[in-house]
Structure formats: structure tokens, C-alpha cells
């Protein structure tokens, strides 16, 4: 693997800063990862973290328009929210780094939330909800599967929110309070990747962010999902062309010792056209049209997942039983060290592709640091390379059991 050199600092107000210099690009990526996601929401107002992400582009106390100055500096920006975090990034010519820092420092603590802007962004998010979830075949699968899998932890709702009504009705004051509670220098990891000098870049960061007040309020502890002891199954019918099947098994979060074994197992199963899913479930057994296994990769205990649409005439309940026994068959009898080596090799190449872009490098660094230590980017490949078939088998025994599973049978009305 290519070493990933970077400098790490923490400002007096708790802002974590990572600088990864690269003299060969004319650009710099400025990535700010905030420790707030859908898991931090109140069940009454879900979708709030994502709505707030939209509003972060609607102007701050000293800068009424976020986008225009950045575009004037030759930059682009965007953001995403997931259940764990909210991430903002700009990529711009390195000579204009100050513009990005100026913009980000003002909106970190001084966001404007005018009535008009809030109302417009509610409508925009509602259209996003319709476009991505309501107006798409299988669009509510994610919502249903989370409700089925989690009883307690806030992973039980999706980032977009449980429904449109909550987005339409959340009071502006509640949005403001959420912002005040979750945004601030000590809730953020700031990463620069690109053509910057670490010393002068750090001085700039200190200039723009050093005096911002730290967030005094401690994060509320999240409810813990109790262990699942019995298989759960739910069936719905929808106007979709084919039956779909979704299954999830609870598994540890990203920092747990078993995470990598299960992550690599999902890659060996479905990460390549040579994997067991393609060769066995699609080609030889003819069960699936498309789909496969993956891990949710969340910070808190997440899920080992399977999602697929089924070939015509296949019974979803029978396929679900076959998937469960297939997992054990592979883990117990057929998985080889060569499967794991190939998956690891592919992972290394994927990372090398990803790291060709300053934007991806900055995001990978920010995420790794937020999870505990960005230095793991320099060591994780070796850890993956050391995973054995026995490690996978043991992890499969611990987590991929029927009593730890949730199954959603998503039936096509026309094929039922």
C-alpha cells in the first residue's frame, strides 16, 4: 500500500485538524466531518440532520450566500448525511484555500435560518424524498428494513426521515436547537488534502477557527439495541415488477475486532463477479436477478446485509431459507484463503483508485479519524491481509445465525 502521510493537530477549542500535503495537484480538498447524523435525532423529528445539511448552504451571519463566493474562487462543494455523520467538502484551487476556510468558519457557529430559506428547503427535501424513495420501485424497502431490524437504537429510521410529514412540520426553532447542540469546533474533524504547506495552512485554520467557542453540551448517550434472540420476518406487497428479498444480521460496529472479518467475507461473497453470489446464487442456482451481501459499516453495531430481486417463479420465503444455509455452507466448508486474498487485493486497488483524488483522500482521512485514528489507513490493509478463513468462520458463527436475523419479503403484487 501507498503510505498516507499527514499531520495531525487539535486546536484549543477541540477542532481536530489533519493536513495531507500533495505538491503534485493544483487543488485542495477541504473536508469537514461533523459528529452528527440521523442517529442523533429525536424520533418525533426524524430527517432533521439531513434537512439541516441543506440549510447549511443557505447563508450564515456574515455571508448571506454560501455557494457564490466559493464558485467565484473556482470551487465546488457538496455534502452528505448518513445515520452517523454529516460531511461537507469543497474542492478548489489551492491558492484560494482561505475562501473555503472563511465560509466554513462562519457557518460552523453562525448559521442563518430565515423563515423563507427553511420553507424552501423543506420543499426541496420533500421532493428529494419523493424522487429517491416514494417514486422509485422498492423505494420504501430501506425504511421497512430498518423498522424491522431495530427496536431501540435510532438506526431504526433512515437518514431522509420516517415520513414527509415530519419534514414539513418540524419547527424552525427545533432545527435551530439541533444545530446549536451538534455543530461546533469540537464536534468537527477538518481535513485538508492537496497542495498546501502544513505550517501555513495550520496558521490559516487557527486564524479562521481558533476563536470559535467549543460546544459545551455533551452528546447524549444513544439507546443501545438489545440483543436479538428470535428471527423476525415481515411481508409486504407492492406494485413492483419482481419479488425482492432483504435480510439483515446484527453485527459489531466499525471498531470491533470482528468487523473486518465480516467485511471481507461480504467482499468474498459479492465484491466481484468471481464471488460466490454471482457464481452460485445467480449463475448456478438461478435464484437472483441481482443483489448480494454487504455490511452497513456503521459506527455503532450495524448489520451484515443481503438484498436482491428474485428470478421469476422463485418463492421469497424459500430463497430466504436457502440464503441462510448458503451463508453457513460457504463459511463452514467452501471459503478458501485464496478467496480472502483476492478480496484483499481488490480492496487495495480500490483504495489506490480512490486515493488518486484529493476529495476522496480527505474524506477517507476524516472518516478514519472520526472513527478513532486516521493512522489506521496506513495499517488496515495489513490487518485485512492477515484475516484467515477461521476468523471468518468464527465471526459467521457468532453473528450470522437465524435467531439474529431479520427478513423482509417484498412481494410483487403482479407476481404474487
Amino acid at each position: 500500500m501507498i503510505p498516507f502521510p499527514f499531520e495531525r493537530y487539535t486546536l484549543g477549542n477541540g477542532l481536530k485538524v489533519l493536513i495531507q500535503p500533495d505538491r503534485q495537484t493544483p487543488m485542495v480538498a477541504v473536508n469537514l466531518l461533523y459528529d452528527v447524523g440521523a442517529r442523533d435525532e429525536n424520533p418525533q423529528w426524524t430527517g432533521l440532520a439531513h434537512l439541516l445539511e441543506h440549510l447549511m448552504f443557505e447563508g450564515s451571519r456574515h455571508i448571506p450566500n454560501y455557494d457564490q463566493p466559493l464558485q467565484l474562487a473556482g470551487g465546488i462543494n457538496n455534502a452528505f448525511t448518513n445515520n452517523d455523520l454529516t460531511n461537507y467538502y469543497c474542492v478548489l484551487p489551492a491558492a484560494n484555500l482561505s475562501t473555503a476556510l472563511w465560509l466554513e468558519s462562519d457557518r460552523m457557529c453562525n448559521l442563518s435560518l430565515s423563515e423563507h430559506k427553511v420553507e424552501v428547503q423543506r420543499k426541496v427535501v420533500v421532493e428529494e424524498f419523493r424522487q429517491r424513495y416514494l417514486n422509485q420501485p422498492y423505494g420504501d424497502l430501506l425504511t421497512l428494513s430498518r423498522e424491522l431490524s431495530y427496536t431501540t437504537h435510532p438506526y431504526r429510521w433512515p437518514t431522509i426521515g420516517k415520513n414527509i410529514e415530519q419534514i414539513e412540520q418540524v419547527p424552525r426553532q427545533t432545527i435551530h436547537e439541533f444545530y446549536k447542540e451538534h455543530y461546533g469546533p469540537n464536534r468537527c474533524t477538518l481535513v485538508l488534502s492537496g497542495n498546501v504547506n502544513p505550517d501555513s495552512a495550520l496558521k490559516e485554520i487557527e486564524y479562521w477557527f481558533g476563536d470559535l467557542p467549543a460546544q459545551a453540551q455533551k452528546k447524549s448517550p444513544l439507546p443501545v439495541e438489545p440483543p436479538q434472540t428470535q428471527a423476525r420476518i415481515k411481508q409486504v406487497k407492492r406494485a413492483v415488477p419482481e419479488h425482492a428479498l432483504w435480510m439483515g444480521w446484527h453485527m459489531p460496529g466499525r471498531n470491533h475486532a470482528d468487523f473486518k472479518a465480516l467485511d471481507l467475507f461480504s467482499d468474498a461473497l459479492s465484491g466481484s463477479a468471481a464471488g460466490y453470489t454471482m457464481d452460485e446464487l445467480i449463475r448456478k442456482r438461478g435464484l437472483l436477478n441481482q443483489g448480494g451481501f454487504y455490511v452497513s459499516g456503521s459506527a455503532d453495531p450495524g448489520q451484515f446485509l443481503f438484498s436482491a430481486t428474485l428470478r421469476e417463479g422463485k418463492n421469497p420465503e424459500q430463497v430466504a431459507a436457502e440464503i441462510q444455509s448458503f451463508l453457513f455452507e460457504i463459511a463452514e466448508h467452501r471459503l478458501t484463503q485464496d478467496d480472502l486474498t483476492r478480496a484483499t487485493e481488490k480492496m487495495a486497488t480500490s483504495n489506490a483508485f480512490s486515493d488518486a483524488s484529493v476529495q476522496n483522500r480527505a474524506l477517507r482521512l476524516a472518516t478514519a479519524e472520526w472513527l478513532g485514528d486516521a493512522q489506521t489507513l496506513n495499517t488496515e490493509w495489513e490487518e485485512y491481509a492477515q484475516i484467515t478463513v477461521d476468523d471468518v468462520r468464527n465471526a459467521a458463527h457468532r453473528y450470522l445465525n437465524p435467531e439474529n436475523s431479520s427478513t423482509l419479503l417484498y412481494l410483487s403484487e403482479s407476481n404474487a
Binding site: I2, T25, N96, R130, Q136, A273, A274, M278, A352, A356
Partner: protein, 422 residues
């Protein structure tokens, strides 16, 4: 944080032009050219082959898409699983794509693995067997994809507009389900024979290649038989304005696709047009985004893009809107087009778009893979080798009157084709 906090941006500097890469054209021992970009920043290599289609094949998406899927899924010496597993051992990826005018295959890997991966790539291109079993499976998967896509308003609007745009031209593709269901393995073998085995592709290679140059030349010679070049497609002209609608009861949104003409008689015209289109609807701060999303909240997103093939060019606006906002959205689009035609853009707006595009240009050249893709696209469209330099110079010379005249020429609402579904 400075006190007082400045309300205007720190000084900006876009004076430094990026380093504009160009392909170097080399000759194989058999005299065929290939295009190379040596780049040492990332330890990667990307090898791409573009096979241009003749007028018989441009209209046949289903045999071509199936062929693309079947290549490598079983060769003369390896099963599909074995071939893919060998590719994984090299940590290599193959990208396959089919558009209306060409098929493109790219091998991407770490440079140190290029020698091991190239024979697999060659095997995929020249020795795929297209077995009946794999064909049946791929056809079934494609039918499944087709049916799922048919449930999407955006896909129905795309099919509707494409069908109308390319009627009576070889670029027309009959995308009905029954055509796909009638597809035979013989059709795919024909496509393989005519579009790949007997065609000489255009070859591009980028990255750290020096140690592999000899083996790369052998590979390129092997996949480049002596073959007549594909004849150019006839000139395409946009049809008359029309409103088309595909009804999809029960959908809460409509997809709207608006298309207009963009024929160019010079590079200057095209560059003016590209600038104008971005200002109108091609970036987050564009007039369409500001008006239709940021002021009215009708949509999650709206974008205008230039659509450029070698034989056709036009522009297109795509959006998805609340079901009852179609007419209002079209009204606002016309309003913004007419405003651009009548009134010159302000100095500040011109500067914003210019700087945004200058930054986008530099960003699009970040890393070897981005550079490769950008140069390959430009080469495929027949753009001059110094296109990027000319583009950059144009950004700093175009004025508001050129933009207004370009809008007058290309954005006349009386010419628009509007396709909607929902």
C-alpha cells in the same frame, strides 16, 4: 476567528493555469497509432479501447449491451468464474460501456500488475465464447433490469425523448421489451464478430507504463487487426418541437426532459455555447437552480447539459418535479431562457461562471484516471489536441454579449422538445 468577521471573501487567485495534459501519439510496429499519457503521480495504469460502430449497429442496443456483459464471462480456456478470479488476483478492474456510437473497454490496475492483467484483457476481447448458458442468464437479467427501469419516471422520459430525437436516423434505438425478448445468441455472435473481432479499436494508455511498454505494444497489435475504419454516420438534425408525455398513474412526481438544438459551425461557437449553458442551468448557482429549486422549491435538482456525440449534438435539461408543477417549471425555464436572450449577464455572474469553470477544469484533471477519461472523450469527439488550452483561454476572453448571442441562437423556446413521464 477574526474580529470583525469579514463579509467578503479573502482575495482570490486563479492566475495559475493548470498543466494541460496531452496524449502523445505513438506507432505500433504494424503502423497503427495509439495514444499515451505518461503520468507518475499515481501508481496506476488505465488502458482503454474504443470500438466505433457503423450505421447498422448503432441502432441495436440489445445485442451490444448483451455482448458487453458476456465478454470475459467464459473464454476458450477459462470459465467465467475462473476469468474473473484471475482478474481479482491482479487487483484489476474492467470497465465496459456501450453508447450510441461506440463500445469502450478499459482495464484499470496498479501499474505493477499490468503485465499480469493484460493477457486477461486480451482473452476477454478475443477469446470469449458467449456460451448459451451465459447468454440465457444475461438476457434474463437484462429483461429484469428493463422492467425495473420501466417503473422509473426518469427512464420513461428518456426513452420517449430519445425515440423522438433519433427517429429516421441510424442512432435510433428501438427499446421495446419485445425486441429484447426476441434477442438471440446469433445476434450477439454477429455483434461480436463485426464490432470487435474484425474492428480495429482506437487505443489509449495512461499512467506508469514504461516497464510494460513492450508487452503493451504486443497486446495492442493483437487486438488491432487490419480492418477498414468504420464509416462516418450521416449528419443528424434535431426534429421539430413537440410535447410528448408518457402517463404513469400513481406516481407522485413527473420527470421532465427538455431538449434543444446545438449545431456548431466552429469551436468558438461551441465554447460560447458551453459557457452559456452552464450559466443557464449547468451548475449549482445557475439561473435554473436558483429559480426553480432555491426560490420555489419545485425540485430536488435541475440541470442543463450539452449532449455531444460525433454525429449529433444538442442540449438537454433534466429534472423531476412535484406532479402539479410541470407547467410552472416549463414557464420558469422559458422565462430564464428569454431573460438570457434579452439581457446581457452581469459582470459578477460572468466572473462567477468563468471562475467556477476554471476550477472545474483543474479539478477534472486531478489524478491519472480523470486525465485519461477527459482526454479520451475529447479525442473521440475529434477535438483539437490543444482543446484544453483553447477552452481555458476562452474562459478568460468570453464576454456577456457572446453569451447573450449564444442564448439567442440555441435557447429559443419555440424549438424545444419536451418529454415528460409520470
Amino acid at each position: 476567528m477574526p474580529n470583525p468577521f469579514p463579509s467578503s471573501s479573502p482575495a482570490i487567485d486563479l492566475s495559475q493555469a493548470p498543466d494541460f495534459p496531452v496524449f502523445q501519439t505513438l506507432l505500433l510496429p504494424n503502423g497503427k497509432p495509439w495514444h499515451v499519457l505518461l503520468h507518475s503521480q499515481n501508481p496506476l495504469a488505465k488502458i482503454s479501447l474504443r470500438y466505433d460502430l457503423d450505421a447498422h449497429w448503432t441502432g441495436q442496443p440489445f445485442p451490444l449491451n448483451t455482448l458487453v456483459q458476456l465478454l470475459g464471462e467464459g473464454t476458450k480456456t477459462k470459465t467465467a468464474q475462473e476469468w474473473n478470479a484471475d482478474l481479482d488476483r491482479c487487483g484489476a478492474f474492467v470497465q465496459k460501456s456501450a453508447n450510441r456510437e461506440s463500445l469502450t473497454f478499459s482495464l484499470i490496475c496498479r501499474s505493477q500488475n499490468l503485465e499480469k492483467a493484460l493477457p486477461l484483457f486480451r482473452e476477454m476481447l478475443l477469446e470469449s465464447i458467449l456460451s448459451p448458458e451465459e447468454f440465457s442468464m444475461q438476457k434474463e437479467l437484462q429483461i429484469s433490469d428493463f422492467m425495473q427501469e420501466s417503473e422509473q419516471v426518469s427512464e420513461q422520459a428518456r426513452r420517449l425523448s430519445s425515440g423522438y430525437l433519433f427517429q429516421n436516423h441510424p442512432l435510433f434505438q428501438d427499446e421495446r421489451l419485445e425486441i429484447l425478448e426476441d434477442l438471440s445468441l446469433e445476434d450477439v455472435h454477429e455483434a461480436y464478430k463485426h464490432c470487435i473481432l474484425s474492428q480495429s479499436p482506437t487505443a489509449y494508455a495512461s499512467g506508469i507504463l514504461l516497464e510494460s511498454q513492450a508487452i503493451l505494444e504486443d497486446f495492442l497489435a493483437a487486438v488491432s487487426p487490419s480492418a477498414p475504419s468504420t464509416s462516418a454516420l450521416p449528419h443528424w438534425q434535431i426534429p421539430e418541437k413537440k410535447e410528448l408525455h408518457h402517463s404513469m398513474p400513481g406516481k407522485s412526481q413527473q420527470a421532465l426532459r427538455v431538449v434543444g438544438p446545438a449545431p456548431f459551425s466552429s469551436l468558438q461557437e461551441e465554447l460560447d455555447f458551453r459557457f452559456m449553458l452552464v450559466l443557464w442551468g449547468g451548475y449549482f448557482g445557475s439561473r435554473l437552480m436558483k429559480n426553480i429549486r432555491e426560490e420555489k422549491g419545485f425540485t430536488y435538482g435541475i440541470s442543463a447539459s450539452p449532449m455531444r456525440l460525433t454525429s449529433a449534438s444538442y442540449w438537454m435539461v433534466n429534472t423531476q418535479i412535484n406532479g402539479d408543477k410541470k407547467n410552472e417549471t416549463l414557464h420558469e425555464m422559458r422565462f430564464e431562457a428569454e431573460r438570457l436572450i434579452i439581457q446581457a449577464a452581469s459582470k459578477q455572474e460572468m466572473e462567477t461562471v468563468r471562475n467556477y469553470l476554471a476550477g472545474s477544469l483543474a479539478r477534472s484533471l486531478d489524478g491519472v484516471l480523470n486525465r485519461h477519461d477527459r482526454l479520451m472523450t475529447l479525442h473521440g469527439l475529434g477535438m483539437p489536441a490543444d482543446y484544453l488550452t483553447l477552452y481555458h483561454q476562452h474562459l478568460f476572453s468570453v464576454n456577456a454579449d457572446q453569451v447573450r448571442r449564444s442564448a439567442e441562437r440555441y435557447l429559443n423556446p419555440e424549438t424545444w422538445i419536451c418529454a415528460s413521464a409520470g
